[in-house]
């Protein structure tokens, strides 16, 4: 009985601490980022641009399209182009696996585009101050990097991703 109460007490404390941390992070501009894995490396996408994440479905090839464009899918009646984020980042592009996902991003005008990634991991909350300029040799799609644990996560810029094909 008393042990139970003790456990509950700790639980309450832990929750309170977590809430306090959340409040602190919120007060100092926090970016929410979707962490994905592409070619074995961690990348992040701004969550406010992510409309949805869908499992891999049959992709209809677009003839005469650049290699980057895998084709189109029907997303509940909307026809959406799916682009290969792996190729966009110069990574290997093996056959998709069970963990592959299509991240559907929306642009400024509401138009949507699907991007094939290897794995969708989690939503990160990163304080703005933890984002730093990318190294000079990073892909032009990367706007910032941050450290999570012992790894660098590169933040991608959706508009630049779009313009890969548009140009």
């Amino acid at each position: 009985m008393s042990a139970d109460a003790g456990v509950r007490g700790w639980d309450v404390l832990a929750k309170a601490a977590a809430r306090a941390r959340e409040v602190r992070e919120e007060s100092a501009a926090v970016r929410e980022l979707l962490r994905v894995e592409v070619g074995g490396e961690p990348y992040a996408l701004p969550i406010e641009r992510v409309r949805e994440i869908v499992r891999l479905c049959p992709i209809t090839k677009m003839p005469r399209a650049p290699e980057l464009v895998l084709g189109v899918i029907s997303l509940r009646g909307e026809i959406v182009e799916v682009l290969d984020l792996r190729r966009a980042l110069g990574a290997e592009a093996p056959e998709p696996t069970r963990r592959s996902r299509i991240v559907v991003l929306h642009g400024e005008t509401g138009e949507i585009t699907g991007w094939l990634v290897d794995v969708v991991n989690e939503v990160l909350r990163v304080p703005e101050v933890d984002l730093s300029a990318p190294p000079g040799d990073a892909s032009e799609l990367v706007t910032a990097i941050c450290v999570r644990g012992d790894r660098f996560v590169s933040l991608l810029e959706p508009d630049r991703m779009q313009s890969l094909v548009a140009d």
Binding site: P58, T60, A65, G71, V72, I73, I79, E81, L83, V165
Partner: protein, 683 residues
């Protein structure tokens, strides 16, 4: 560049005007229904509502005038006029007055809708002028000014003198009704008096009316401001103070209410109150039976119909499977009957939804008339525009996208084709030039012909220019039609001068791409010296199409059935090579051959097996498209492809078949046009 940004700034301002005016009209509609309700219930016309209506009309008049919408401003002006007479008590509303107001607001809304679509409201001139005439002629029963002396009232000095004409009218009206008149004195905190005053006003309106609000000297301390409110109510002074949560001392009676019976409509109440409620209810009904719907909603509806069709297709397949088995053949028969019924209803539904999308070409024609009027002034050329078939209906989306190409053609004809008056006189043509536009429905297509009686186009000059520009080889044999088709090549122009009216060159390639985007075709014919005729052939709708599904390698494509002339089995040997191109001999005609798999890079050349030829045709142009399989027919809703690539030559869009599978829809006109071009290039 500067012109463009100026234009967009103006468009934006117009847009703001439209949304502001829409709000005003909405509020006016609400207020009108409140008036009608009060009138139907035999209650007094709510003065605050009437006053608000007046102010809305006043604001509408101002901004419509500022944005140059004279008709709308004029209408608002007359509305304001009626409302002013009403609120001043110089007229009583009654049923005819309510009907006039209702009609004015509805008409203003229609006019505004035109403004919103950047159309001129000129076509409304007649109904508006007519309405204004009726408003002016409206002789409302004059309200009797209650003969009450204001001097006998116990109100502070100067307060009566400070009343506006409207306020005085309200005061007399209230007194005439035997209401109590009160002077309410409140000290309000300077920091928040607006809010407090608003609250007090609302509270008073619940039990009476605020006739006037005046700031007054003599507040108790520096941090507050004193207001005098002149209010009328049927309540007694103590009761009113209690309702307003004020000290009894703050509410002073200038005159006590005559009696509680004053709550019932007084004999001098507006005539409307005597009318039977049913008659009033009739005026509440909207005068127009038209509903304005966002085209996107219709698209959604169309999508649903498309999905319904697909379900039906699945049901048909299931029925066929059941029928194949003896054990379930009877059930299959019944299912088939149901399925057919469903099919019929779905088709009716589809037709009904399509019908809603249809609008007459008149909208475009009206615009062309205006453009011509302006061109006549700008170019000082005497040209008559004759329009026929304005009632021909097309899908709203198509009609909208037809404006640009037609405008382009009319400008071309005006500027380049029709000769100057001197020249026309010299060659014996009537002084007045003529541009005729005629729309006719031909089966599932609509043909729009633009004819002029100008100088025409000389095929030899076209050919010479094409050769000079390296578009065709000097020795290429070309038919007359093929020569005129050269006009559509990008950058081709028979007139080198640049004018403000038609921009650089003739730009028929723009017209072609606009029309091709709609799944249509453009053809030119001309007789030098006599005139030119441009024919646009357009599908009636884009929303839903019958599609032929074909397969090449592992892929399936949809082809709009409207572009398919026939399908046939072809053996490899039937395709012949001649002068570097492949041709299919179809009953004596040589059709250029396109191989779908190669065209779309699905496979390297492999020409040994049996294939199917889908004969694509638009107008007179035909192409044999070779495919591996024919996979059946289906209703398809063509949707745009979203993403950075968006358009690919030869692909009109995509559609969904079965669960979650996207299929590309081929752009027949692009394929036919490309095949023609390649032919010229190779030969």
């Amino acid at each position: 560049m500067a012109g463009k940004s100026r234009k967009s700034a103006r468009d934006k301002a117009q847009q703001e005007f439209v949304s502001e005016a829409e709000e005003l009209l909405d509020r006016m509609r609400d207020d009108l229904s409140a008036l009608a309700e009060a009138s139907a219930a035999g209650r007094e016309t709510p003065p605050a509502t009437l006053n608000q209506l007046f102010r809305s009309a006043h604001t509408l008049k101002g901004s419509a005038g500022m944005f140059g919408h004279g008709l709308l401003a004029e209408l608002a002006h007359h509305l304001e006029d009626i409302l002013d007479r009403l609120r001043m008590g110089r007229a009583t509303l009654g049923r005819p007055g309510l009907a006039l107001l209702d009609e004015s607001v509805s008409l203003a809304a229609v006019a505004l809708e035109k403004v919103g679509r950047a159309e001129e409201a000129e076509s409304l001139a007649e109904p508006i002028t007519d309405l204004i005439g009726r408003i002016a002629a409206w002789e409302p029963p004059a309200a009797e000014a209650p003969g009450v002396s204001l001097q006998a009232l116990d109100v502070p000095d100067g307060l009566l003198r400070a009343l506006t004409e409207y306020e005085e009218t309200r005061l007399r009206e209230s007194l005439g009704r035997g209401r109590g008149l009160y002077v309410i004195e409140v000290d309000l905190d300077l920091a928040s008096f607006e809010e407090a005053l608003g609250e007090l006003t609302r509270a008073i309106q619940e039990v009476g009316e605020v006739i006037s609000t005046l700031p007054s000297p003599g507040a108790g301390n520096e941090a507050s401001i004193r207001f005098l409110l002149l209010a009328a109510s049927d309540l007694g002074g103590a009761e009113l103070a209690a309702r307003l949560e004020l000290d009894a001392g703050a509410v002073r009676a200038a005159r006590a209410p005559a009696s509680m019976a004053a709550r019932a409509p007084a004999p001098s109440a507006p005539a409307a109150s005597a009318e039977p409620p049913e008659a009033e209810a009739a005026t509440l009904k909207s005068l127009s039976e038209t509903v304005r719907v966002d085209i996107k909603k219709l698209d959604e509806l169309m999508n649903l119909v498309g999905e319904l069709s697909r379900e039906r297709t699945a049901l048909r397949a299931l029925t066929a499977r059941l029928a194949a088995d003896r054990a379930s053949a009877r059930i299959a028969g019944e299912l088939d009957k149901i399925q057919r019924g469903l099919e019929r209803k779905t088709q009716e539904l589809q037709a009904a939804v399509l019908d809603v999308r249809m609008v007459p070409l008149r909208q475009v024609f009206d615009k062309l008339t205006r453009v011509t009027r302006r061109l006549r002034l700008d170019l000082a050329k005497d040209v008559r525009l004759e329009l026929r078939g304005a009632d021909t209906e097309l899908d709203k989306l198509i009609v909208e996208q037809l404006v640009d190409p037609l405008m382009h053609l009319v400008r071309n004809a005006f500027d380049h084709a029709i000769e100057s008056a001197d020249e026309r006189a010299r060659i014996g043509k009537p002084a007045e030039g003529l541009i005729q536009i005629e729309a006719t429905q031909r089966g599932h297509d609509v043909a729009v012909e633009v004819r002029d009686d100008g100088r025409g186009i000389d095929p030899e000059a076209v050919r010479a220019r094409a050769i000079e520009r390296g578009l065709v080889a000097a020795d290429t044999p070309l038919t007359r039609k093929e020569i005129f088709d050269l006009l559509f090549l990008p950058g081709f122009s028979t007139k080198s001068e640049v004018t403000e009216i038609s921009g650089r060159g003739v730009g028929l390639d723009v017209v072609r791409s606009n029309v091709a985007g709609l799944g249509g075709l453009v053809a030119v014919d001309s007789v030098p010296g006599q005139g030119t005729q441009v024919t646009l052939t357009l599908p009636i709708t884009l929303a839903i199409i019958q599609a032929l599904l074909v397969g090449a390698e592992d892929e399936t494509f949809a082809i709009p059935l409207a572009g398919v002339r026939e399908t046939l089995v072809v053996n490899a040997s039937e395709v012949q090579r001649s002068a570097g191109r492949e041709l299919l001999n179809l009953r004596g005609d040589a059709l250029p051959v396109l191989r779908l798999a190669e065209e779309f890079g699905l496979r390297a050349v492999a020409r040994d097996q049996k294939q199917y030829a889908v004969v694509l045709g638009i107008g007179d142009a035909r192409v044999a498209l070779l495919v591996d399989r024919l996979e059946g027919q289906q209703d398809a809703v063509i949707k745009p492809v979203q993403g950075p690539l968006r358009t690919l030559r030869g692909v009109a869009g995509a559609t969904e078949i079965g669960a979650q599978t996207a299929v590309l829809v081929l752009d027949v006109s692009a394929l036919v046009a490309d095949a023609g071009k390649r032919r010229e290039a190779k030969s």
